[in-house]
């Protein structure tokens, strides 16, 4: 099995995710970019898991945990975004500037 293509894909996804977090202004899109980074982690884990033929399947199990926790966090995150949107009629992260320095 050749692992390189999986690692390159994961690295690309992770980089696109970081770019999205830095550039996107809408909180929902920032959240989606973070999900992209977590997907990159999952690809990495599953690829490594089958590459090293881990008898405990640690990589695959880890990926399942990441998916579950990510789902829980998106639930919390969307709740917070909805709350912010209700109070300010905007989910733009640039406008969160009540507190600085």
């Amino acid at each position: 099995m050749i692992i390189n293509q999986f690692l390159v894909l994961a690295a690309l996804l992770f980089s696109i995710g970081i770019y999205g977090v830095l550039v996107r202004r809408n909180a929902v899109l920032v959240l989606l970019s973070i999900e992209l980074m977590l997907t990159a982690v999952n690809i990495n884990l599953v690829a490594f898991g089958s590459y090293i033929q881990d008898t405990l399947r640690s990589g695959q199990v880890f990926a399942l945990f990441v998916i579950t926790v990510a789902a829980a966090e998106v639930g919390i995150g969307l709740a917070i975004v909805v709350l912010v949107f209700r109070n300010r009629a905007s989910a733009n992260v640039d406008e969160l500037d009540l507190m600085r320095w």
Binding site: F48, F62, F65, V81, L96, M99
Partner: protein, 505 residues
């Protein structure tokens, strides 16, 4: 047979979580404080098995059974874990005591608050025992996820919304970065337990493998977000200011200590063979955290923001013993580990006390602006004295408790050998200890020497009584600050027993 005794604190906390939800469902609106009572009883009950576990481990002398290893080495209950579990439960109890009166006067959803706080403490207790990547990740998320919601508790308040969203986005981003590092560690070593990772790094000769360097950097950056170390600190003061003050107290102690526990276990166990990678990184992070945190704290006008920046600076002090780890021998490493743990233990009591005093003063004065605190001594001399005790304690003025952890920290970085880098870091730390005194003393000066501001709302709120639970929290932390100042060995003993963590292969 499965060792239920070792897992008893977590089991009790889990059962209490469910009980808290059930109680919240059945009690009427005016009796919601009963959920808080349930949570408090659960925390106290979870502390009992800690004592019985300690009785048959190194802490009480008879190390007959040794560390209890569960789940194939993924979950270890040793002296280090017991001490940190105790710290998390105590800080959970004090945060709960701070919250009760605050929430009642605020008229917000009480029941869910206690449930979330308890869930976060449970995560921290799990982290203390976690010895593999999956467990520590799940524990860390269990600490953070309820905390995101707690920070946004005042739903109608825009500042609280903003605090919550900033905390959430940085928290999830840091988790993603850390996970990417962990996935690389797993791929390179083929192991997820810390002991297995350390063995594989040595066995495969990965010490100078570029991919491992990248992985270590990612994991450290992830934890640096959690402990709000500079340059990953920007969320912390905003979150502390916007969140309800008891939540800020919990975040700056419980959640932060959980981040340090994760960093300590990963660095000193999984990444023990690559100390030369994480040592220099943490040298820079420690120096920056102390300096930037203190310099920005100097110009704060809001006392909660001031405590936020000062907690960043204290995070830097806790990282100082990490910095020279690459050059230490085994005994020096144990000293450094002891230095960090002891600082966390003392800092927890001092900072919780400082936040308790702030909550009490805000209750009287109605403002977190330091200028409004002028002349507090005239109408609330007891509170003024408490503010003095905690702020001078945080500054490290003897005989209050803050001096001892600073002493241990300096001894850890200087005591073992003389390297120009160690001396430079010690000088930076010493200068920062002095800078910190300036802003802590500034608040005390306002309280004692300034006049009561003309437009202060003091007349309106001066007659308010403090909630009994808040008085109890103030009494506990003030007693700890004074007693541990005169007899630091009482608390340092618990730091001392954790040395075994480093000595174990």
């Amino acid at each position: 047979m499965f060792d239920y005794h070792a897992l008893a604190p977590e089991l009790i906390l889990g059962i209490t979580l469910l009980a808290a939800i059930a109680v919240d469902l059945v009690v009427p609106e005016r009796l919601k404080y009963l959920v808080g009572v349930t949570a408090l009883l659960g925390l106290v009950a979870a502390a009992l098995p800690l004592i019985t576990l300690a009785a048959c481990s190194g802490i009480a002398g008879c190390a007959a059974t040794g560390p209890r290893v569960l789940f194939g080495g993924s979950y270890v209950v040793d002296d280090f874990a017991l001490v940190l579990k105790g710290l998390f439960i105590v800080s959970g109890v004090i945060s709960l005591l701070l919250s009760v009166g605050y929430l009642e006067s605020d008229d917000y959803y009480q029941g869910e608050f206690y449930f979330l706080l308890l869930a976060s403490v449970t995560g921290a207790v799990i982290m203390a025992s976690a010895r593999d990547l999956i467990t520590i990740f799940v524990g860390l998320e269990l600490v953070s996820a309820p905390a995101f919601l707690l920070a946004g508790w005042r739903k109608g308040d825009r500042r609280s919304n903003e605090a919550s969203l900033k905390f959430f986005l940085t928290g999830v981003l840091s988790a993603a970065v850390m996970l990417f590092g962990m996935s690389l560690v797993y791929g390179l070593t083929g192991n997820i337990t810390f002991a297995g990772i350390a063995q594989a790094i040595t066995a495969f000769g990965l010490q100078s493998e570029p991919a491992l360097v990248l992985a270590v950097v990612f994991v450290i950056v992830g934890f640096a977000f959690k402990i709000s170390a500079v340059p990953f600190h920007f969320w912390a003061p905003d979150t502390y200011e916007g969140a309800p003050t008891p939540v800020a107290a919990y975040l700056s102690v419980g959640s932060k200590a959980a981040g340090f526990v994760g960093l300590l276990t990963i660095c000193y166990q999984a990444f023990a063979p690559v100390r030369s990678i994480w040592g220099p990184i943490l040298w820079v992070v420690a120096a920056l955290s102390m300096t930037v945190g203190n310099l920005i704290a100097l110009r704060q006008t809001n006392v909660v923001r001031l405590l936020g920046y000062s907690s960043i600076a204290h995070g830097g002090f806790i990282l100082v013993p990490f910095a020279m780890a690459a050059l230490y021998d085994q005994a020096g490493l144990a000293d450094a580990f002891f230095g960090s743990i002891t600082y966390v233990l003392f800092y927890a009591f001092l900072n919780l006390g400082a936040f308790a005093a702030v909550i009490a003063v805000v209750h009287k004065v109605g403002s977190t602006e330091i200028t409004d605190w002028g002349g507090l001594n005239r109408y609330a001399p007891g509170l003024a004295a408490l503010v003095t005790v905690f702020f001078f304690g945080l500054a490290g003025v003897p005989p209050l408790a803050g001096w001892f952890p600073k002493f241990v920290m300096f001894r850890a970085v200087l005591g073992v050998f003389e390297s120009p880098w160690a001396i430079a870091l010690a000088v930076i730390a010493a200068v920062n200890a002095v800078i910190a005194l300036v802003y802590y003393a500034g608040v005390v000066k306002r309280v004692y020497m300034d006049n009561v501001p003309v437009n202060a709302p003091v007349d309106r709120v001066a007659g308010r009584r403090l909630a009994p639970s808040l008085v109890l929290a103030l009494a506990i932390t003030a007693a700890a600050t004074v007693i541990f100042g005169f007899f630091p060995q009482l608390l340092a003993f618990f730091g001392d027993v954790t040395r075994a963590f480093v000595a174990a292969p």
